[in-house]
Symmetry: C2
Subunit: 147 residues, 2 copies
DNA sequence: GTAAAACTTTACGTTAACGTAAACTTCATG
DNA sequence: CATGAAGTTTACGTTAACGTAAAGTTTTAC
């Protein structure tokens, strides 16, 4: 599983490799602090297709980068489906102009939605503050006779 | 069901009532622009308990106010369970000090959560803008040879 | 008096991204 | 060789607030 230690104390004449070229599902789970279940789920949704050695999944650097992109996408509010769309485009015709344009459209959509959310939250915050004031008034009303 | 028209053209010597004292489920649904399904769902969750005439639900002014409070709670980000908690307190001991304090605690929690959300959204917006810039740069890179 | 509108209950479906459990195989280690 | 860690598949459960459909009864309207 772990070949880190094997690398560090390599006895063969081969040079120590600083960058691994293959990872187990557990390696990636640890590195990105997610569960193996999540990684398998992403595969289920068609976002990754690691090779197999028998039953076992073998992840390459490319797979690792993909995972990193999936997680970045999530941070940015992209759904898995949206990320998959981008991946599919990339897989078809490389990092094309078309893909970049799609990406930009997606980003615009997200930004619009987030700005709307910002406004909504601000409004609700104000409403909450108003209700809060009402509560405080009522409360002091009810407790003033017991000072 | 509808006694609005009946009121307006009342022929009996009774005075015209400006405020209804009972409503059908459809009346309330229309007034608040929600579905009857929602109203029945709130009842299911223990937030309302209208009387029945046979099978049919009869809503009083008090029920109507409750519904209004449920919807206000939703606007303010309260879950139905939270609203129910407040109702339960009210039902037990009237609009007590205790209830007001619970309300204030809930409000504080919501405000904290919303402020956190605000910050998160701002961060993501900045990240999105950064990614956007990257995309634009790459895009102009890829299209500059075809001017 | 009959057809349409409104109402009722029951219960499964929806969304997103996994969590959790069961039951199994494979691998490395002492 | 036994055992424990890591891996595998399959499939149901979770959350919130309803949507939707089916299949029935009751009211209302013309």
């Amino acid at each position: 599983m772990h070949n880190t230690s094997a690398e560090e104390f390599e006895t063969s004449p081969e040079r120590v490799r600083r960058t691994q070229d293959s990872f187990s599902i557990g390696d990636l789970a640890k590195e990105f602090d997610i569960t193996t279940r999540s990684i398998r789920f992403y595969e289920d949704q068609g976002l990754m297709m690691p090779e197999r050695r028998g039953q076992t999944r073998i992840y390459t650097q490319k797979d690792r980068v993909r995972l990193k992109l999936i997680l970045r996408g999530k941070r940015l509010g992209f759904t898995l489906a949206e990320t998959k769309t981008l991946f599919d485009m990339y897989d078809r015709d490389g990092s094309s102009v078309n893909q970049l344009q799609t990406m930009l459209r997606l980003i615009e959509d997200k930004k619009l939605a987030l700005r709307q959310q910002l406004e909504d939250i601000k409004v609700v915050l104000h409403e909450l503050t108003a209700v809060e004031s009402g509560c405080r008034a009522e409360l002091s009303e009810k407790t003033k006779e017991y000072p």
